[in-house]
Protein backbone atom coordinates (compact mmCIF):
# COMPACT_ATOMS: atom_id res chain seq x y z
CA UNK A 1 0.00 0.00 0.00
CA UNK A 2 1.33 3.39 -0.91
CA UNK A 3 1.18 6.03 1.69
CA UNK A 4 1.57 9.71 1.23
CA UNK A 5 2.14 12.14 3.97
CA UNK A 6 2.00 15.84 3.57
CA UNK A 7 2.52 18.45 6.14
CA UNK A 8 1.16 21.94 6.22
CA UNK A 9 1.67 24.77 8.60
CA UNK A 10 0.34 24.87 12.10
CA UNK A 11 -3.32 25.48 12.58
CA UNK A 12 -4.48 27.60 15.43
CA UNK A 13 -7.21 26.29 17.61
CA UNK A 14 -9.32 29.29 16.71
CA UNK A 15 -9.66 27.93 13.21
CA UNK A 16 -11.49 24.86 14.35
CA UNK A 17 -14.78 24.68 12.54
CA UNK A 18 -17.50 23.67 14.94
CA UNK A 19 -19.86 23.04 12.03
CA UNK A 20 -17.58 20.36 10.72
CA UNK A 21 -17.43 18.35 13.90
CA UNK A 22 -18.96 15.10 12.80
CA UNK A 23 -20.07 12.09 14.76
CA UNK A 24 -16.48 10.97 14.89
CA UNK A 25 -15.30 14.13 16.51
CA UNK A 26 -14.41 14.49 20.15
CA UNK A 27 -17.28 13.66 22.42
CA UNK A 28 -17.91 16.79 24.36
CA UNK A 29 -21.05 15.64 26.10
CA UNK A 30 -19.63 12.68 27.96
CA UNK A 31 -16.93 13.62 30.36
CA UNK A 32 -17.21 17.02 28.84
CA UNK A 33 -14.90 18.69 31.31
CA UNK A 34 -12.02 16.45 30.36
CA UNK A 35 -12.67 16.95 26.68
CA UNK A 36 -12.75 20.69 27.04
CA UNK A 37 -9.42 20.60 28.77
CA UNK A 38 -7.83 18.21 26.31
CA UNK A 39 -9.04 19.78 23.15
CA UNK A 40 -7.03 23.02 23.31
CA UNK A 41 -3.99 21.13 24.49
CA UNK A 42 -4.16 18.80 21.56
CA UNK A 43 -4.54 21.64 19.15
CA UNK A 44 -1.77 23.69 20.68
CA UNK A 45 0.69 20.85 20.51
CA UNK A 46 -0.40 19.98 17.01
CA UNK A 47 2.19 21.93 15.15
CA UNK A 48 1.60 20.09 11.91
CA UNK A 49 -1.78 19.68 10.32
CA UNK A 50 -1.34 16.54 8.29
CA UNK A 51 -3.74 14.62 6.13
CA UNK A 52 -2.87 11.11 5.04
CA UNK A 53 -4.21 9.84 1.76
CA UNK A 54 -4.55 6.12 1.19
CA UNK A 55 -5.66 3.97 -1.72
CA UNK A 56 -5.89 6.77 -4.27
CA UNK A 57 -7.29 4.98 -7.27
CA UNK A 58 -9.39 5.47 -10.33
CA UNK A 59 -11.39 3.13 -12.50
CA UNK A 60 -10.05 2.95 -16.00
CA UNK A 61 -12.24 5.11 -18.16
CA UNK A 62 -13.84 3.03 -20.82
CA UNK A 63 -14.58 4.21 -24.25
CA UNK A 64 -13.65 7.79 -24.59
CA UNK A 65 -16.29 8.38 -22.01
CA UNK A 66 -14.25 11.42 -21.10
CA UNK A 67 -15.04 11.05 -17.43
CA UNK A 68 -13.59 9.13 -14.53
CA UNK A 69 -14.03 8.97 -10.80
CA UNK A 70 -11.20 8.98 -8.28
CA UNK A 71 -11.67 7.23 -4.96
CA UNK A 72 -9.42 7.46 -1.92
CA UNK A 73 -9.29 7.44 1.86
CA UNK A 74 -8.61 10.65 3.73
CA UNK A 75 -7.19 10.13 7.18
CA UNK A 76 -7.06 13.06 9.53
CA UNK A 77 -4.92 12.08 12.52
CA UNK A 78 -4.82 15.62 13.82
CA UNK A 79 -7.04 17.31 16.37
CA UNK A 80 -8.22 19.76 13.76
CA UNK A 81 -11.26 19.21 11.62
CA UNK A 82 -10.52 19.62 7.96
CA UNK A 83 -12.44 19.81 4.71
CA UNK A 84 -11.53 18.63 1.23
CA UNK A 85 -12.63 21.58 -0.85
CA UNK A 86 -11.14 21.05 -4.29
CA UNK A 87 -8.88 18.92 -6.43
CA UNK A 88 -6.86 19.43 -9.57
CA UNK A 89 -4.80 17.53 -12.10
CA UNK A 90 -1.91 18.70 -14.26
CA UNK A 91 -2.72 21.12 -17.05
CA UNK A 92 -4.12 19.40 -20.09
CA UNK A 93 -4.97 16.13 -18.33
CA UNK A 94 -8.65 16.89 -17.79
CA UNK A 95 -10.79 19.90 -18.51
CA UNK A 96 -12.46 20.02 -15.13
CA UNK A 97 -12.09 18.39 -11.75
CA UNK A 98 -14.88 18.52 -9.20
CA UNK A 99 -15.60 17.10 -5.79
CA UNK A 100 -18.76 15.09 -6.26
CA UNK A 101 -21.24 12.95 -4.53
CA UNK A 102 -23.60 10.36 -5.91
CA UNK A 103 -27.01 10.94 -4.43
CA UNK A 104 -30.51 9.67 -4.54
CA UNK A 105 -33.00 12.22 -5.77
CA UNK A 106 -35.50 13.26 -3.15
CA UNK A 107 -38.71 13.59 -5.13
CA UNK A 108 -40.30 15.83 -2.53
CA UNK A 109 -37.63 18.40 -3.10
CA UNK A 110 -38.29 18.32 -6.82
CA UNK A 111 -41.97 19.14 -6.64
CA UNK A 112 -42.85 21.60 -9.35
CA UNK A 113 -39.56 20.97 -11.01
CA UNK A 114 -41.04 20.02 -14.31
CA UNK A 115 -41.84 16.43 -13.53
CA UNK A 116 -44.09 14.75 -15.98
CA UNK A 117 -47.77 14.74 -15.45
CA UNK A 118 -49.40 11.47 -14.60
CA UNK A 119 -50.38 10.61 -18.14
CA UNK A 120 -47.23 8.56 -18.26
CA UNK A 121 -46.38 9.42 -21.82
CA UNK A 122 -42.67 9.58 -22.18
CA UNK A 123 -41.23 12.31 -24.22
CA UNK A 124 -37.99 14.00 -24.92
CA UNK A 125 -38.16 17.48 -26.27
CA UNK A 126 -35.32 18.85 -28.32
CA UNK A 127 -33.10 19.55 -25.40
CA UNK A 128 -34.79 17.98 -22.43
CA UNK A 129 -35.75 14.46 -21.66
CA UNK A 130 -37.47 13.14 -18.66
CA UNK A 131 -39.49 10.12 -17.99
CA UNK A 132 -41.34 8.58 -15.15
CA UNK A 133 -43.49 10.08 -12.48
CA UNK A 134 -42.64 10.32 -8.84
CA UNK A 135 -45.42 8.21 -7.44
CA UNK A 136 -44.66 6.09 -4.44
CA UNK A 137 -43.97 2.95 -6.47
CA UNK A 138 -41.43 4.62 -8.69
CA UNK A 139 -37.80 3.93 -7.92
CA UNK A 140 -35.64 6.81 -6.84
CA UNK A 141 -33.36 8.32 -9.40
CA UNK A 142 -29.64 8.58 -8.86
CA UNK A 143 -27.62 11.59 -9.81
CA UNK A 144 -24.31 13.25 -9.24
CA UNK A 145 -23.65 16.70 -7.93
CA UNK A 146 -20.77 18.89 -6.95
CA UNK A 147 -20.39 19.42 -3.23
CA UNK A 148 -18.76 22.43 -1.59
CA UNK A 149 -16.52 20.17 0.45
CA UNK A 150 -16.07 16.81 2.12
CA UNK A 151 -15.62 17.13 5.89
CA UNK A 152 -12.75 15.14 7.34
CA UNK A 153 -13.28 15.44 11.09
CA UNK A 154 -10.35 15.36 13.46
CA UNK A 155 -9.19 11.85 14.25
CA UNK A 156 -11.27 10.18 11.57
CA UNK A 157 -10.89 8.59 8.17
CA UNK A 158 -13.31 9.40 5.39
CA UNK A 159 -13.54 6.96 2.51
CA UNK A 160 -14.44 8.14 -0.95
CA UNK A 161 -15.94 4.99 -2.44
CA UNK A 162 -18.17 4.04 -5.36
CA UNK A 163 -21.72 5.14 -4.73
CA UNK A 164 -20.69 7.93 -2.36
CA UNK A 165 -18.18 10.73 -2.67
CA UNK A 166 -15.74 10.82 -5.52
CA UNK A 167 -13.49 13.24 -7.31
CA UNK A 168 -14.81 13.58 -10.81
CA UNK A 169 -12.53 14.15 -13.75
CA UNK A 170 -14.27 15.57 -16.79
CA UNK A 171 -13.17 16.19 -20.35
CA UNK A 172 -10.29 13.78 -20.01
CA UNK A 173 -7.75 14.28 -22.78
CA UNK A 174 -7.09 10.53 -22.95
CA UNK A 175 -8.69 7.37 -21.67
CA UNK A 176 -7.32 6.20 -18.36
CA UNK A 177 -5.52 2.93 -18.89
CA UNK A 178 -5.23 0.26 -16.23
CA UNK A 179 -1.81 0.26 -14.61
CA UNK A 180 -1.03 3.89 -15.32
CA UNK A 181 -0.73 6.54 -12.66
CA UNK A 182 -1.43 10.22 -12.64
CA UNK A 183 -0.98 13.09 -10.25
CA UNK A 184 -3.85 14.57 -8.30
CA UNK A 185 -3.62 17.53 -5.99
CA UNK A 186 -6.13 17.78 -3.20
CA UNK A 187 -6.90 21.08 -1.59
CA UNK A 188 -7.76 20.93 2.09
CA UNK A 189 -8.98 23.85 4.04
CA UNK A 190 -6.36 23.49 6.76
CA UNK A 191 -3.78 21.02 5.55
CA UNK A 192 -3.46 22.87 2.28
CA UNK A 193 -2.36 21.19 -0.92
CA UNK A 194 -1.77 17.46 -0.81
CA UNK A 195 -0.42 15.83 -3.93
CA UNK A 196 -0.88 12.12 -4.47
CA UNK A 197 -0.36 9.59 -7.22
CA UNK A 198 -3.55 7.94 -8.40
CA UNK A 199 -3.40 4.38 -9.62
CA UNK A 200 -5.64 3.50 -12.55
CA UNK A 201 -7.22 0.13 -11.89
CA UNK A 202 -9.31 -2.37 -13.71
CA UNK A 203 -13.03 -2.00 -13.05
CA UNK A 204 -13.14 -5.03 -10.75
CA UNK A 205 -10.34 -3.74 -8.51
CA UNK A 206 -11.75 -0.38 -7.60
Amino acid sequence: MQRYRFVASAVAVGLLLPACSGADGPDLTVEGAAAVVQQPEAAETDEEAAILVHHARSRMSPSRAGVAAVYLDLENPTATDDVLVAASVPEGFAGRVEVHETYEVDDDSMAGDGHMSSDGNGHMSDDTGMHGGSDSDAPAMMGMREVPGIPVPAGSTVELVPGGYHIMLMDLAEDLVTGEEFTLTLELEHAGAVTVSVEVRDHADV
Binding site: R59, M60, S61, P62, S63, R64, A65, G66, V67, A68, A69, H100, T102, V105, G120, N121, G122, H123, M124, D126, D127, T128, G129, M130, H131, G132, G133, S134, D137, A138, P139, A140, M141, M142, G143, M144, R145, P162, G163, H166, M168, L169, M170, H203, A204, V206
Partner: protein
Protein backbone atom coordinates in the same frame (compact mmCIF):
# COMPACT_ATOMS: atom_id res chain seq x y z
CA UNK B 1 -39.48 -3.99 -39.87
CA UNK B 2 -40.04 -7.03 -37.81
CA UNK B 3 -37.86 -7.06 -34.75
CA UNK B 4 -35.49 -9.94 -34.61
CA UNK B 5 -35.84 -11.83 -31.41
CA UNK B 6 -32.81 -12.05 -29.25
CA UNK B 7 -33.83 -15.66 -29.10
CA UNK B 8 -32.57 -17.01 -32.37
CA UNK B 9 -32.44 -20.68 -31.62
CA UNK B 10 -35.56 -22.76 -32.08
CA UNK B 11 -37.45 -22.85 -28.85
CA UNK B 12 -38.01 -26.30 -27.47
CA UNK B 13 -41.27 -26.52 -25.58
CA UNK B 14 -40.00 -29.10 -23.12
CA UNK B 15 -36.96 -27.04 -22.27
CA UNK B 16 -39.19 -24.04 -21.71
CA UNK B 17 -41.46 -26.01 -19.40
CA UNK B 18 -38.52 -27.38 -17.44
CA UNK B 19 -37.05 -23.91 -17.14
CA UNK B 20 -40.40 -22.50 -16.09
CA UNK B 21 -40.81 -25.10 -13.38
CA UNK B 22 -37.24 -24.58 -12.32
CA UNK B 23 -37.74 -20.85 -12.12
CA UNK B 24 -40.94 -21.18 -10.14
CA UNK B 25 -39.45 -23.61 -7.66
CA UNK B 26 -36.30 -21.57 -7.38
CA UNK B 27 -38.30 -18.46 -6.61
CA UNK B 28 -40.57 -20.23 -4.15
CA UNK B 29 -37.82 -22.03 -2.29
CA UNK B 30 -35.44 -19.10 -2.16
CA UNK B 31 -37.12 -16.28 -0.30
CA UNK B 32 -33.80 -14.63 0.35
CA UNK B 33 -33.10 -13.89 -3.30
CA UNK B 34 -31.73 -10.41 -3.77
CA UNK B 35 -33.89 -7.75 -5.32
CA UNK B 36 -37.63 -7.81 -5.76
CA UNK B 37 -40.12 -9.45 -8.07
CA UNK B 38 -43.31 -7.74 -9.10
CA UNK B 39 -46.66 -9.44 -9.12
CA UNK B 40 -47.64 -9.85 -11.86
CA UNK B 41 -44.32 -9.84 -13.60
CA UNK B 42 -44.31 -7.29 -16.41
CA UNK B 43 -43.82 -8.65 -19.92
CA UNK B 44 -41.20 -7.00 -22.06
CA UNK B 45 -42.41 -8.19 -25.44
CA UNK B 46 -42.76 -5.59 -28.15
CA UNK B 47 -40.09 -3.28 -26.75
CA UNK B 48 -37.55 -2.82 -29.48
CA UNK B 49 -34.11 -1.29 -29.67
CA UNK B 50 -31.25 -1.23 -32.13
CA UNK B 51 -28.39 -3.44 -31.03
CA UNK B 52 -25.05 -1.97 -32.08
CA UNK B 53 -22.90 -4.81 -30.81
CA UNK B 54 -21.65 -5.49 -34.32
CA UNK B 55 -20.22 -2.38 -35.90
CA UNK B 56 -21.47 -2.88 -39.42
CA UNK B 57 -24.67 -4.71 -38.68
CA UNK B 58 -26.99 -2.94 -36.30
CA UNK B 59 -29.96 -5.14 -35.56
CA UNK B 60 -33.39 -4.37 -34.28
CA UNK B 61 -33.95 -6.56 -31.23
CA UNK B 62 -36.30 -6.96 -28.34
CA UNK B 63 -35.41 -7.62 -24.72
CA UNK B 64 -36.14 -11.35 -24.69
CA UNK B 65 -33.10 -13.61 -24.29
CA UNK B 66 -32.48 -16.94 -25.93
CA UNK B 67 -34.19 -20.00 -24.41
CA UNK B 68 -32.57 -20.97 -21.14
CA UNK B 69 -30.87 -17.62 -20.72
CA UNK B 70 -31.21 -14.50 -18.61
CA UNK B 71 -30.88 -10.92 -19.75
CA UNK B 72 -29.76 -8.15 -17.42
CA UNK B 73 -31.23 -4.93 -18.75
CA UNK B 74 -29.71 -1.68 -17.55
CA UNK B 75 -30.66 1.87 -18.50
CA UNK B 76 -27.65 4.12 -18.13
CA UNK B 77 -25.36 6.57 -19.87
CA UNK B 78 -21.68 6.64 -20.61
CA UNK B 79 -20.85 9.97 -18.97
CA UNK B 80 -21.75 8.38 -15.66
CA UNK B 81 -18.41 7.74 -13.90
CA UNK B 82 -19.64 6.13 -10.71
CA UNK B 83 -22.97 4.33 -10.64
CA UNK B 84 -23.06 2.84 -14.15
CA UNK B 85 -19.55 1.37 -14.34
CA UNK B 86 -19.93 0.10 -10.79
CA UNK B 87 -23.04 -1.84 -11.77
CA UNK B 88 -21.49 -3.12 -14.99
CA UNK B 89 -18.45 -4.23 -13.03
CA UNK B 90 -20.57 -5.98 -10.42
CA UNK B 91 -22.39 -7.96 -13.10
CA UNK B 92 -19.13 -8.76 -14.89
CA UNK B 93 -17.66 -10.03 -11.63
CA UNK B 94 -20.74 -12.16 -11.01
CA UNK B 95 -20.45 -13.70 -14.46
CA UNK B 96 -16.85 -14.56 -13.66
CA UNK B 97 -17.89 -16.03 -10.33
CA UNK B 98 -20.55 -18.38 -11.67
CA UNK B 99 -18.22 -19.90 -14.23
CA UNK B 100 -18.25 -19.97 -18.01
CA UNK B 101 -21.19 -22.34 -18.45
CA UNK B 102 -23.63 -20.18 -16.52
CA UNK B 103 -22.02 -16.95 -17.65
CA UNK B 104 -22.64 -17.97 -21.25
CA UNK B 105 -26.35 -18.08 -20.44
CA UNK B 106 -26.41 -14.51 -19.17
CA UNK B 107 -25.90 -11.28 -21.01
CA UNK B 108 -26.15 -7.57 -20.29
CA UNK B 109 -28.25 -5.29 -22.43
CA UNK B 110 -27.14 -1.73 -21.81
CA UNK B 111 -29.72 0.78 -22.98
CA UNK B 112 -28.47 4.33 -23.23
CA UNK B 113 -30.89 6.99 -22.06
CA UNK B 114 -28.49 9.57 -23.50
CA UNK B 115 -28.35 8.80 -27.23
CA UNK B 116 -27.27 12.36 -28.00
CA UNK B 117 -23.84 11.67 -26.53
CA UNK B 118 -23.67 7.88 -26.56
CA UNK B 119 -23.04 6.74 -30.09
CA UNK B 120 -22.55 3.13 -31.25
CA UNK B 121 -18.74 3.20 -31.23
CA UNK B 122 -18.51 4.54 -27.72
CA UNK B 123 -21.15 2.09 -26.48
CA UNK B 124 -19.24 -0.85 -27.93
CA UNK B 125 -15.94 0.33 -26.54
CA UNK B 126 -17.47 0.89 -23.12
CA UNK B 127 -19.24 -2.45 -22.87
CA UNK B 128 -16.33 -4.46 -24.26
CA UNK B 129 -14.30 -3.37 -21.23
CA UNK B 130 -16.68 -5.31 -19.03
CA UNK B 131 -18.02 -8.10 -21.22
CA UNK B 132 -15.61 -8.58 -24.14
CA UNK B 133 -17.97 -8.98 -27.07
CA UNK B 134 -20.76 -10.62 -25.11
CA UNK B 135 -23.29 -7.83 -24.60
CA UNK B 136 -26.05 -5.88 -26.28
CA UNK B 137 -25.36 -2.21 -26.96
CA UNK B 138 -28.84 -0.82 -27.29
CA UNK B 139 -29.80 2.56 -28.62
CA UNK B 140 -33.50 3.40 -28.64
CA UNK B 141 -35.06 3.42 -32.09
CA UNK B 142 -36.55 6.76 -31.17
CA UNK B 143 -37.71 8.66 -28.14
CA UNK B 144 -41.04 6.93 -28.11
CA UNK B 145 -39.37 3.52 -27.97
CA UNK B 146 -37.30 4.56 -24.99
CA UNK B 147 -40.35 6.01 -23.27
CA UNK B 148 -42.35 2.85 -23.93
CA UNK B 149 -39.66 0.67 -22.42
CA UNK B 150 -39.30 3.00 -19.47
CA UNK B 151 -43.04 2.89 -18.86
CA UNK B 152 -43.20 -0.88 -19.00
CA UNK B 153 -40.26 -1.50 -16.72
CA UNK B 154 -40.68 1.49 -14.44
CA UNK B 155 -37.47 3.21 -15.45
CA UNK B 156 -37.11 6.91 -14.72
CA UNK B 157 -34.66 9.28 -16.29
CA UNK B 158 -34.18 12.98 -16.76
CA UNK B 159 -31.84 14.77 -19.10
CA UNK B 160 -30.94 18.22 -17.87
CA UNK B 161 -32.13 20.97 -20.18
CA UNK B 162 -29.28 22.27 -22.30
CA UNK B 163 -28.61 24.30 -25.40
CA UNK B 164 -28.36 22.38 -28.66
CA UNK B 165 -24.76 21.33 -29.15
CA UNK B 166 -23.95 21.67 -25.47
CA UNK B 167 -22.43 18.37 -24.39
CA UNK B 168 -22.30 19.19 -20.73
CA UNK B 169 -25.47 18.30 -18.95
CA UNK B 170 -26.49 16.11 -16.09
CA UNK B 171 -28.49 12.94 -16.34
CA UNK B 172 -30.60 11.45 -13.58
CA UNK B 173 -31.70 7.85 -13.82
CA UNK B 174 -33.17 5.12 -11.72
CA UNK B 175 -30.20 2.80 -11.56
CA UNK B 176 -31.87 -0.59 -11.25
CA UNK B 177 -30.98 -3.75 -13.09
CA UNK B 178 -33.90 -5.58 -14.68
CA UNK B 179 -33.64 -9.34 -15.01
CA UNK B 180 -35.62 -10.81 -17.90
CA UNK B 181 -36.13 -14.51 -18.48
CA UNK B 182 -36.61 -16.37 -21.73
CA UNK B 183 -40.37 -16.01 -21.52
CA UNK B 184 -39.91 -12.28 -21.71
CA UNK B 185 -40.90 -11.68 -18.12
CA UNK B 186 -39.26 -9.18 -15.83
CA UNK B 187 -38.58 -11.75 -13.11
CA UNK B 188 -36.48 -9.66 -10.79
CA UNK B 189 -35.10 -6.18 -10.34
CA UNK B 190 -32.01 -5.35 -8.36
CA UNK B 191 -31.35 -1.95 -6.84
CA UNK B 192 -28.17 0.02 -7.20
CA UNK B 193 -25.76 -1.37 -4.64
CA UNK B 194 -26.53 -5.02 -5.29
CA UNK B 195 -23.22 -6.84 -4.93
CA UNK B 196 -21.49 -9.21 -7.33
CA UNK B 197 -22.50 -11.95 -4.91
CA UNK B 198 -26.14 -10.88 -5.19
CA UNK B 199 -25.97 -11.16 -8.96
CA UNK B 200 -24.16 -14.50 -8.76
CA UNK B 201 -26.74 -15.92 -6.37
CA UNK B 202 -29.51 -14.77 -8.64
CA UNK B 203 -27.92 -16.35 -11.69
CA UNK B 204 -27.48 -19.66 -9.89
CA UNK B 205 -31.04 -19.58 -8.58
CA UNK B 206 -32.71 -18.62 -11.85
CA UNK B 207 -30.64 -20.83 -14.13
CA UNK B 208 -30.90 -24.32 -12.70
Amino acid sequence: MNPKRLAQRPAVLLAAVILGVGLASALLSEPELPGVARDPMPAVDGLTFVDHRTADAPQEVDLIPDPGELLFVYFGYLSCPDVCPMTMSDIAQARDAVGPALAARTRVAFVTVDPQRDGPDRLRSYLSHFFDDDYHALIPVDEAALAAAADRLGVRYEIEAHEPGDERYDVLHSALTYVVDDRGHLVRELPFGATPDDYARLIRALLP
